[in-house]
């Protein structure tokens, strides 16, 4: 046994003991647990081990492990960490100037110290799907993050978790050009793949020969070919082409057509929705498509329902008001009730602010007549479903991430405060130490940041008083 293996053994022992002696086992005891998976539990306990929920139930039925760190808050309500289904904030510049850029990755532009994540945490949002902005044609690959951690790696929940496609023209483009570029991107992909198959069949495997000339060979999996799958179009014979021969710049496009990556499709008008659905169907990614809908898109809700997309995300506008040119009165459409009546589950989106955050959107839905459970689901389990993470987040259930928000009261009340946030079992937010919130809510200036009234010293005072006789 050499020294390095001894070190390794000690490290392994240290690791096992850390697990055995707790440290990573938490029990959260609260007055009420709203699990969003069944009835609320009065006097509930949530057990979390290694970041995952291991048990949820009434205090009378749950045995707290001897080594668990217990967090007791008998007056607070536990609610699932909310899920932001699609946002373009928290990045260094959300939009890329290249029209078709699926080879880019927001991993390079997510900014962990951006105040946005702090705002989200403060509002009780623990999972965010970060996608590029809407001023794009095909954007770079987005990712799912949690609003804690000083590096992108620490924040990551799911890398490469989707691609934004905009049907609404990007700045400076006409609709016709936008759609032409979009259709051409997929047509071009098809031509390229067909060309590669042709080359492989002709025995001209240029990519492999180039690699060999450079003194390397394709890695095991990359060196193999794989037949194309997908529900739109298929290039026959792709199994003859090693995947590494396909330019990595277009590989993400192939993933879209093969239905292996989610598509977040930005549609601001009803006509965008119709074009988008058609393009998604032609290219086989309809079932992976999530629509980001503008306020007028309710007009094509029947088509959306029939298309069978994976989900829809409503904008922060919950009421759409319009007036026909000669009408005396406005026509007001309440969007959440409209979609609920059509049987289209929706997720709500926040606007990074106290007045428009997810809980408030849900509360406004209830005010507009949406069923309370539906509204609460639209900020928790609903968006988790939309981003394909329903097995991990969105409810307080065994096996899911230990993402919990401890509230001072009802999740939809104006007076309720987010007191603590746990992410994967770790206490990540504590309201009592949130100086920025104290500044915003109570006007408390953080120490050392405010200038006091300048004191004007009378430098002649001594001279004058000395002269008084």
């Amino acid at each position: 046994m050499n020294i390095s293996s001894i070190t390794r053994l000690t490290a392994a022992l240290a690791l096992t003991s850390a697990v055995a002696f707790g440290g990573d086992s938490h029990a959260i005891k609260v007055g009420k647990v709203i699990t969003m998976a069944g009835e609320p539990i009065e006097n509930g306990i949530v057990l979390i081990e290694s970041g995952r929920i291991t048990a949820v139930g009434p205090a009378s039925e749950i045995q707290i492990p001897w080594d668990a760190e217990v967090f007791e808050a008998p007056n607070l309500v536990a609610f699932p960490g909310q899920v932001e289904a699609c946002t373009s904030q928290g990045m260094d510049r959300a939009n890329e100037s290249i029209d078709v850029a699926p080879f880019l990755n927001v991993v390079d532009s997510v900014d962990p110290v951006n105040f946005f994540y702090e705002e989200m945490l403060r509002a009780g949002i623990t999972t965010l799907n970060v996608q590029q902005g809407n001023s794009t044609v095909i954007a770079g690959r987005g990712m799912i993050v949690k609003p804690s951690g000083m590096t992108v790696a620490a924040m990551t929940v799911r890398p490469e978790a989707g691609i934004k496609i905009a049907i609404t023209p990007k700045r400076g483009k006409s609709r016709a050009v936008q759609l032409m570029i979009l259709r051409e991107a997929f047509a071009g992909l098809r031509r390229t793949l067909e060309g590669l198959v042709q080359e492989a069949n002709d025995g001209n495997d240029h990519a492999r020969r180039e690699a060999l000339a450079q003194g390397r060979d394709f890695e095991a999996e990359d060196g193999k070919g794989r037949a194309m799958t997908g529900s739109g179009w298929i290039v026959e014979g792709l199994e003859a082409v090693p995947r590494a021969s396909i330019d990595s710049k277009i590989l993400p496009l192939l993933a879209i057509v093969e239905g292996r990556i989610s598509v977040y499709m930005a549609c601001s008008t009803p006509m965008d929705v119709l074009h988008g659905l058609e393009i998604a169907k032609e290219n086989g990614f309809l079932a992976q498509t999530v629509l980001l809908l503008g306020p007028t898109c309710w007009k094509v809700s029947d088509e959306i329902k029939a298309a069978g997309v994976r989900g829809v995300i409503l904008s922060s506008t919950l009421e759409h008001t319009e007036r026909a040119p000669f009408a005396e009165e406005d026509t007001v459409t309440v969007l959440p009730t409209h979609f609920a009546e059509k049987g289209i589950p929706f997720a709500l989106a926040s606007q990074n602010s106290t007045t428009q955050s997810l809980w408030f959107q849900a509360a406004r839905c209830v005010a507009l007549g949406v069923d309370r459970e539906v509204a609460l689901a639209a900020i928790t389990s609903g968006p988790a479903e939309v981003i394909g993470l329903s097995s991990e987040v969105g409810t307080i259930e065994k096996g899911k991430h230990g993402n919990l928000v401890l509230l001072s009261g009802d999740p939809l009340s104006l007076q309720t405060q987010v007191r603590y946030v746990f992410i994967e079992g770790k206490l990540t937010y504590d309201r009592t130490t949130d100086t920025r919130l104290q500044h915003l809510m109570d006007g408390v200036q953080p120490e050392g940041t405010s200038a006091d009234e300048p004191v004007v010293e009378d430098i002649h005072e001594e001279e004058r008083t000395a002269g008084d006789k």
Partner: protein, 405 residues
């Protein structure tokens, strides 16, 4: 000396001369499980009878008769003391920095759909002010948000209120006249201190012209009426520096023996920073809409507990949505935010009904649900101002402008 407000009141008096008649049948009956008559006064199972646009009676402990509008809660129509529904910069005369002899009444456009939208958010009475593109912009006017599209039918006879501003807006975009002013576009003031100087000069000149008739100038009578306390002045002042300037102006006029100004601070976002000034002079404040991030116009910062802090100090406050009608910006939402910031329900209700009514001098006509007052009602499907409640109906002067579905 005739103010526009006075002229209008003459017209209204002439129109409203009562003719003795037999009591007519009730025009509209509304029922609520909870009626907020006024802040601190709740009536259970209330039946409100409306006749000729006025509340004829409020009957407690009644069940809803057939044909009555029935809702969970009712409160008085809200009053926005800074509603800002104007056609923009054409609503204010800018040929002089101090305009005292014109009123914004002439620029009201009742055909603008913004009025209907405002009425549907439960705001039934507004103060409309000339935009703040010069130092003193002229007279504001109290206006109902719905009713016939005619000035005489919409204007409410309230206090005479002059409008002015301190801060960036009155000097924004002005260009200094280097050398000799050669055209109309060379305007002053070009700085914040120039704005302050215009204010003091206006009152100083007006006070002097009382002693020296030769120095009399157009509009000086209105400024003297301000000094005498007969005309109220709404001054837009976002930051604490601007609020301080307004208070100093008042105190300077008193110290000089010129008079005592009746000032209301509009958009006083930073009133919380140095509230002692406002306590000292008893100056009321109209707060701007709550900002999500705290930041507001002219870089002012307004925390969410501003309403609580000022109320605790005895400063009279009103809330405003600046005419916004969106679900999250409207006046009822502002009351909710003030509650989130620590106000009680009744205090928040006062901030959007009785308090602004007093500031506009219309407290005998609007702001509460009492017999003889205007039949302006807001109908809710739950507890008013709660995040999960919505305004489902609005009655304005006895007319249903939003029908509960």
């Amino acid at each position: 000396m005739i103010y526009p407000g006075f002229l209008i009141s003459c017209v209204l008096l002439a129109l409203a001369s009562p003719a003795p008649e037999a009591p007519k049948p009730v025009d509209l009956t509304v029922h609520a499980d909870y009626l907020h008559v006024a802040p601190g006064e709740v009536v259970r199972n209330a039946l409100i009878q409306i006749r000729d646009g006025k509340i004829a009676s409020v009957l407690p402990g009644r069940s809803a008769p057939d044909g009555a509008l029935t809702v969970h809660s009712i409160m008085a129509g809200m009053i926005d003391a800074s509603a800002r529904v104007t056609p923009g910069d054409v609503a204010v005369e800018q040929s002089k920095e101090v305009i005292t002899n014109l009123s914004v009444t002439d620029s009201l456009d009742f055909f603008n759909p913004a009025w209907d939208r405002l009425a549907r958010t439960g705001v039934t009475t507004t103060l409309i002010a000339p935009p703040d593109y010069n130092v003193v912009g002229g007279f504001s006017v109290v206006v109902k948000t719905s009713g016939p599209k005619r000035v005489a039918a919409r204007v409410v006879n309230g206090a005479s209120i002059l409008r002015g501003a301190i801060g960036e807006l009155p000097s924004a975009g002005n260009s200094p006249a280097f050398g000799r002013p050669t055209n109309f576009y060379a305007r002053r003031p070009t700085t914040r201190m120039g704005v302050e100087w215009e204010w003091r000069k206006a009152f100083f000149d007006a006070a002097q012209s009382a002693r020296f008739p030769d120095a009399e100038f157009e509009g000086a009578d209105v400024l003297r009426a301000c000094l005498a306390g007969d005309v109220r002045i709404f001054i837009q002042a976002w930051t604490t520096a601007d609020i301080r300037t307004a208070v100093y102006l008042d105190e300077e006029m008193q110290a000089e023996g010129y008079g005592d100004l009746d000032i209301v601070i509009d958009a006083g976002a930073e009133a919380w920073k140095e509230p002692a000034f406002l306590v000292r002079t008893g100056t009321p404040v109209v707060l701007p809409p709550f900002p999500a991030t705290g930041r507001l116009g002219e870089r002012a910062f307004m925390p969410w507990d501003t309403g609580r802090k000022l109320t605790d100090l005895g400063i009279m406050i009103a809330l405003s949505a600046h005419g916004e009608t969106g679900l999250k910006e409207r006046l009822s939402a502002q009351a909710g935010y003030a509650i989130r910031g620590g106000l009680t329900f009744d205090e928040a209700l006062a901030c959007v009904t009785t308090t602004p009514a007093r500031l506009l001098g219309v407290e005998k006509q609007v702001g509460a649900v009492k017999s003889g007052m205007d039949a302006d009602l807001v109908l809710w499907n739950g507890a008013p101002f709660s995040a999960t409640s919505n305004i489902v109906g609005v009655v304005a002067s006895g007319e249903v402008v939003l029908t509960p579905r």
